[in-house]
Symmetry: C2
Subunit: 416 residues, 2 copies
């Protein structure tokens, strides 16, 4: 942010009609070289000095996490400052509390950089699509996972090997747990769904699974069927209520979302009037994130110079509703199911029988060429199937003598 404010100073001043001055920086480690010239900028160890500084109109919280970050945001609101944050974990967990505090104090809180980095998708939902009723959001909102899946498909390598490469290249953190297990995407989905669907969704209400169990063989089968696996964050109004999930999903290779590769992010929004619109760009990185953060600051400056406290409510809606969640078992989808079975006659017939007994209709069944291996895969693509039926069938199939391990079950979404 400091780099961008310096390099783009003249443009920003021209667009705002006034300079934007970095007045104060608070940092635990003021001694660390960060490659920016902070001469003339007040510096403090304690965020309270920054929040209390009368020269500071807008506080940018880029600490991350749930501890001091929450204190900073609340203290800034209390002091009547505008707040810009990129902290998706904080917003997913304490968003409604923070929005209410800001509304009560008459100040704005903006957070474009918290979802999909540089892409102005929150603004699109809050303003560009504000006239429409949104039906769904489908997002690739974790660059680490998208990078790993892209590499796995391109090179036919394992999850572990591609995670290692992502770490070496700086696309994954040393502890990548919250990225690869879907938690980070679930945080972003909560923020997106607040804006898109007007619901106050807790992260515990999102059904989450990560990419750790995806194997190269799954990507190969996807390809064979004209599909590609993406970690999708999906929020929608389904036939029986609000659906919210993060999971590896098979989508058509010809869809625009399937073409979003590497560390890029994308969000597809479907509105009743606007139809599908898609937003794509860098989901992370210092300068792309700074572009989103500073655009929020500039929006706030424009409002403040015009004497407005809150121009648009934080989520574009007057209030967030409690979501009426769909029962997970009642959701119907096409599914990809891969079992590992012993290479013996009759096993496939047993599986087919159990699926048929549960009313599950199959679009195709693949039992690839037999190797002299302990286990061979059986791959089944179903027609639209109730999640509860599949769950019961899989439970029964797992108990069969010659079926090994945990089957791989992935949803197929063909309408993107």
């Amino acid at each position: 942010v400091a780099t961008l404010l310096a390099s783009h100073r003249d443009e920003i001043a021209a667009r705002l009609g006034a300079p934007l001055v970095l007045a104060h920086v608070a940092d635990i480690d003021l001694g660390r070289q960060r490659g920016v010239d902070l001469s003339g900028v007040r510096q403090s160890h304690d965020y309270r000095a920054l929040v209390a500084d009368p020269e500071v109109d807008i506080v940018i919280e880029l600490v991350g996490g749930m501890g001091v970050a929450r204190d900073i945001v609340l203290a800034a609101i209390e002091a009547g400052k505008g707040v810009v944050t990129a902290n998706k974990a904080l917003l997913a967990r304490c968003g409604p509390e923070l929005y209410a505090a800001a509304a009560k104090r008459g100040v704005e809180i903006l957070f474009e950089a918290s979802v999909a980095g540089t892409i102005p998708v929150l603004r699109a939902l809050r303003e560009g699509l504000c006239a429409d009723r949104i039906e769904s959001v489908h997002g690739i909102v974790n660059g680490t996972c998208n990078f790993i899946l892209t590499e796995m498909e391109e090179y036919g390598e394992t999850y572990a090997a591609c995670l290692k490469r992502a770490q070496d290249l700086g696309f994954a953190e040393l502890d990548p747990t919250f990225d690869v297990d879907g938690t980070d995407s679930a945080h972003k989905l909560c923020i997106l769904m607040g804006l898109a669907l007007g619901v106050r969704l807790d992260v515990s209400q999102v059904s989450v699974s990560g990419i750790e169990r995806i194997e190269p063989v799954d990507l190969e089968y996807a390809q064979q069927f004209g599909l590609r696996i993406k970690l999708l964050a999906v929020g929608k109004r389904g036939p029986s209520g609000i659906e919210a999930r993060v999971e590896p999903t098979m989508i058509l290779r010809t869809s625009v979302l399937a073409g979003v590769s590497g560390a890029m992010n994308a969000v597809e929004v479907r509105g009743v009037a606007s139809g599908p619109t898609l937003y794509c760009g860098a989901g992370a990185g210092a300068l792309p994130t700074a572009s989103a953060v500073v655009s929020d600051v500039m929006e706030m400056v424009r409002s403040r110079r015009a004497g407005i406290g809150i121009r648009v409510p934080p989520l574009g809606r007057e209030a967030l509703a409690e979501p009426e969640l769909a029962d997970a078992g009642s959701i119907e989808s096409e599914l990809y199911v891969r079992f590992s079975v012993a290479d013996r006659p009759g096993v496939l017939a047993q599986i087919m029988m159990i699926l048929a007994e549960h009313g599950i209709s199959m679009a195709s069944v693949l039992q690839p060429e037999r190797h002299a291996a302990h286990s061979v895969p059986v791959v089944i693509m179903t027609h639209a199937t109730l999640a509860s039926s599949l769950r019961e069938a899989v439970e029964q199939i797992r108990k069969l003598e010659h079926v090994h391990g945990t089957p791989q079950v992935l949803r197929i979404e063909r309408d993107l």
Copy 2:
């Protein structure tokens, strides 16, 4: 717009904190059934009655064209009303005049629907990317052309056959001239470049060519080289100045833009900090366009309720600069060139000689299998070539005895 205001009335009122009322409609033909209930709405034959109506705060101009539309917009501004328009031709030709009039009178003029229909890409440029310096825009902004090119590639059919189908399906007008010859895209490019690059570009400064001369064989060769042809509107800061062009362009099939098919529109924006971001959605259609129009009205209502006249200048910039245009001949690009030649020995050698004399380096040369035809194609893919060199070489080659007709020259852009 009237349909959307009725069907989304409650959401809109909730988001604005006040109802949005359609107060007055002016139409030359008030008798025509338009499938909307206008009971309770004042109706006039004369726009002046609407503009003078004290109940009207915001005027929406959806007449189109350059005549009365300009009068309506200027009269509304003069009367101190906010103006929302979807009229790209008007904005491309009279935009700076209208923006200045609005600024002088202290009212807003918004026009999200004028470029790329429902997609909030103008808002992205004006607000989401306002902190950044934009280097280029690449747009597929004419749905008719994109539909025709998609169909030509998919079915191997001629331009004429696919234009006919587009007309039958309502994707092309009965007189499609301004769509297929690139004029419509050039209008939109002028608006995009004002916002993105801060330049006051006249439509006469855009180098324009349409899709009428594209043949199925060009799409086949593109495919063979991993490329796809799209009618691109391109505005950028090049090494020798501002470049502005609309032309059929070969881009990598793996790029996200190449995946934008049928009547969809998309714009890719490249910023110094934000990198590439892409916006995709419906470029036309009644409800998608209405979504953009009403979002502008809502933005204006929010500002007006807060007592603000102009929150953000129309183009997000304080003033538009005259563009320093690059000399067209000095632009270097990879090129696809297709000649039609008589099937005789030595013709290819002559062509190669002339290209070599002009310093043009070839990446590949294809002279497909000989048929017993009058003409056979010779296809050349060049390395980076100066436009002026190619122009001179092509002039010479056209004079060769056994070279027929006008060669096809298409630019190749690999970095999308």
